[in-house]
Symmetry: D2
Subunit: 310 residues, 4 copies
């Protein structure tokens, strides 16, 4: 089960599809194996970048189950955000029954006031049950719900089953520092894993993050950054990070980012096709060339990209 | 099957619950019977005011099925708006199989540009299948998607299976006039039924609406307004409308409105309990007293309210 | 100077223009005189419905000055909401120097969290100076900033110069009751005047409002409602209110409402032209006919409308 | 005067303040001189990053005038976005009279439909006068107005005085390609300068941009990128860009970015103080250390940063 000392990299997994839109189960297996080989501590499935809304309820549960079975020692977190609590409860119960380590919950975009936010997460925690560890997702750019550090503290304090913050505010570095200060002042500790495509992972680790939960197409590099930073090898961490930053920045574009991510994962042999289930954007020819160019430049600094260089 | 000549009142049905949160099937039956007795042409279930997001997938299909079986000659429209097309397809196919007359689709709040809106509805129409008649829901106040008359024209023109507009813009009177002018200029006719709790039904009929699709707690009065207005009895229509307007206005408040509606339906004996499934707002004591007072004042003008007067 | 015991009706004044777009100073005078004759306690100028953004800085100050000079005993409140604090300070200082009773401040739409809202009003109060009484405008429907009763309490408690709440939430009746309960529990009293075009004035008075601050085209009727309700004449208050409700509801439409308001004020002889400065919507022919029809129906119940009946 | 063949770098200038909040005129002069020395073709003042809303009307005009006088051959563009057309006209006329090359207009956040957007810019172009060249600002992330390429084409086609697009969509690379294709199909050419803190300048140039209009704290490096890219020196352009990317990414954070920018400009001796006029965020101690660290790492690749290295 997920707990508040979780560390390392939890890969945000895409959902692999065949070009005709069917779920690609074999690619689920190769992908899970690749995350394990990369050194990930866990995988998060059915998140915003997992095309979850395009899945039927049974498909979603089947995918989560397959990942869990394949994952070995890795811990699996399942996104259970839903338009209503009935669907959230059904999915949460379903995946916990088959061995998920915890679930992740994002706020619905309609929430506005501090009290509305705190109330919502209290209700959600009740809905999924006190025994289910859950991750609080803080992602204002996409979800348009702004949580102050004080609101996060209220949620953590009132809900013992909240064990992790998926930190994805932007800017968000000072927020990590503030939350860690709150802990020194007595707030219960939670694990903080950071998202945003790793665009600030270099400094997030230095501010007190426990690792990354994001889907950048080189999860092995994320593991390296976390390990280097944890070992105090600051210059090496930044050198490796900076080599990847041009591609990180490119992949982190809203909307087009998932297509870039799947394209590189396909080129790396981790999944068989970069197809998204309809409706989804396709990469323009110019975009593919730019990604290939970025990979060829990356190959000068990171041998993992060498086989991808044109 | 629903077609573009639909007229009259389609009641937006709430979902009746027992106080403990279970679906109240017996109240579904009494409610359907009451809509038939009121003279409704149809019923719309699982809409925004039907607490649809709180229902599990199976519950939703069961409710729609029960309403359809009970409805007799009335036509049943089912709201199938969903976070993704997979869920939309599943629900749409399910309810059409058991005899629904059509489905209703609202735009997701993330849509912004004209092209995004038109594209979305084209995709949705394909997802539910060309043989399924559907209702375009235009409700900017809650959904924050603004459709110009020109955008609606594009959607109607490009999608032959779109047979009805659920008109709920505010202000929206000139929009009806504009769309009817478009028809004179060659746009395919669609049925226009109006919502917004009937707050402007008096003039909407005069602008060219075919009727109302809303859930005001006196559906029998909506039927009267539509009939009086259609018969050219303008003064009688406005007199009846004005007598109900204080309560219409009160029920049309965002958020609290559904609680008021269920409370009056309960007091009228149409459903057994005014409970909403959690999480939902409860009526304050002051609010209940105000509704009772409005009913007692209404009783002076409309005998249907007399048994409810304090 | 405005204080926290203010009661009665403060008319939200439109800005009268000539058809060519120039400010109509003579109509300012006739309008101010009409508000005095109607029994208003005050006037609010340069609000959202005063077309303030279309005025140059000097014009705005000139209009406020002219109204203040003409107003006699009536108290003048000036809307000073601005994109930045420099412009707010300049206008606030300018109008207080020429005799305004206070200023009104709306939150900028970008505010999201409770703390952001409280901080903003603290800064604004400092900018305009401790000696300047001000009105807190709570209008989520248009401004998209949601303030809980608790946030309003924080603002009132931290800012002694905040003397009034312009209440315009929707739904908002329970909010009045909650704030009045806060006062019983020790919160400093503020005056509460209600807006929303008077759509709920009947019950707002009964919940504890001190009066109305809105621009409905029959301010004399608003004064009657406030007086009748204050005198405990409940049935008479509701009878008069209900007679006006069809027009109140029509005028309260977002966007088109100001055009309706100016049209009726023109027909009543209170201003010379219903022109809005460009860009602004014009009333459609159908809309004018509907307003005329509503006035003719109103004339049966309120003799003030008789000279306007077709 | 600005025309549709403008190329190169137009620096988005901050407004320098003394620590006590007064405008720092001497720093305006040193800043303008630095932009000239860096090789900028122009400067844009009073933009979103220029703290324009905090300036009184006279201050804004004085700043623009001082920059224009000092600028020599550089062309000065002035942001004239305002809550209303009266203020826009006043500022636009004022700055064009003293020698501005053109003005820049952003859409108000309330615009939603394609027609609303096109109509707004048509009105704005009329307000500032046909002889005033203007820049269309497309910045959805901050302004929440989404313009499709088709909408931009309509605006360009209908408004001959629109000579430039400030491109700041995200993702936005394909948008540049699409607009350049429109030109091949007959759309009138406009200059396209890109913003977003230069985060994608490397590829924007390759997609067809004419240069950059942004405020990154090394404008001299922006000039180099534009020149290298224009000269076809792709690898050199990317090498230089990548060296700066860690800092570019850091400075591009919403909200905190301006503080970082001013801090580096101060450290470079371009302005005397990094103060923002109140209310404005201050840099945390951690943030300053991170920026210093990024500068020290940059110094290994770019000698312009060497004197700033710790």
């Amino acid at each position: 089960m997920l707990d508040n000392n979780a560390r390392g990299v939890y890969a945000i997994a895409p959902t692999p599809f065949h070009p005709d839109g069917r779920v690609d189960e074999k690619s689920i297996d190769t992908m899970v194996d690749a995350y394990a080989a990369a050194g990930c501590e866990g995988i998060t499935v059915l998140g915003i970048m997992g095309e979850a809304p395009k899945l039927e309820a049974k498909e979603a549960l089947d995918i989560a189950t397959r990942v869990i079975k394949r994952a070995g020692k890795m811990k699996i977190i399942v996104g259970v955000s839903a338009a209503g609590f009935a669907a959230m409860r059904a999915l949460s119960n379903g995946v916990m029954d088959v061995g998920a380590a915890g679930v992740m919950i994002a706020p619905p975009p309609s929430l506005r006031t501090d009290d509305q936010i705190v109330t919502y997460f209290g209700q959600a925690a009740e809905v999924i049950g006190a025994q289910t560890p859950w991750v609080l997702q803080d992602y204002p750019l996409t979800l348009s719900v702004v949580m102050t550090p004080g609101v996060i503290r209220r949620i953590i304090t009132e809900n013992p089953s909240c064990v992790m913050l998926k930190h994805e505010d932007w800017p968000g570095l000072d927020k990590i520092s503030t939350l860690r200060r709150f802990e020194k002042d007595g707030m219960r500790r939670v694990s903080i894993l950071t998202g945003n495509g790793a665009l600030f992972l270099d400094f997030e680790m230095e501010r007190g993050a426990d690792g990354a939960m994001t889907g950048y197409c080189f999860p092995d590099m994320l593991v390296d950054i976390v390990n280097l930073s944890s070992a105090g090898k600051r210059e090496e961490a930044h050198d490796l990070f900076d080599a990847h930053l041009p591609l990180i920045r490119y992949e982190q574009q809203q909307g087009v980012g998932l297509a870039v991510r799947k394209y590189v994962l396909m080129r790396r042999g981790i999944i068989a096709s970069d197809a998204q289930r309809k409706p989804g954007p396709a990469l323009s020819a110019e975009t593919k060339k730019e990604v290939d160019y970025l990979l060829s430049r990356l190959a000068r600094h990171d041998q993992r990209a060498q086989k991808l260089a044109a």
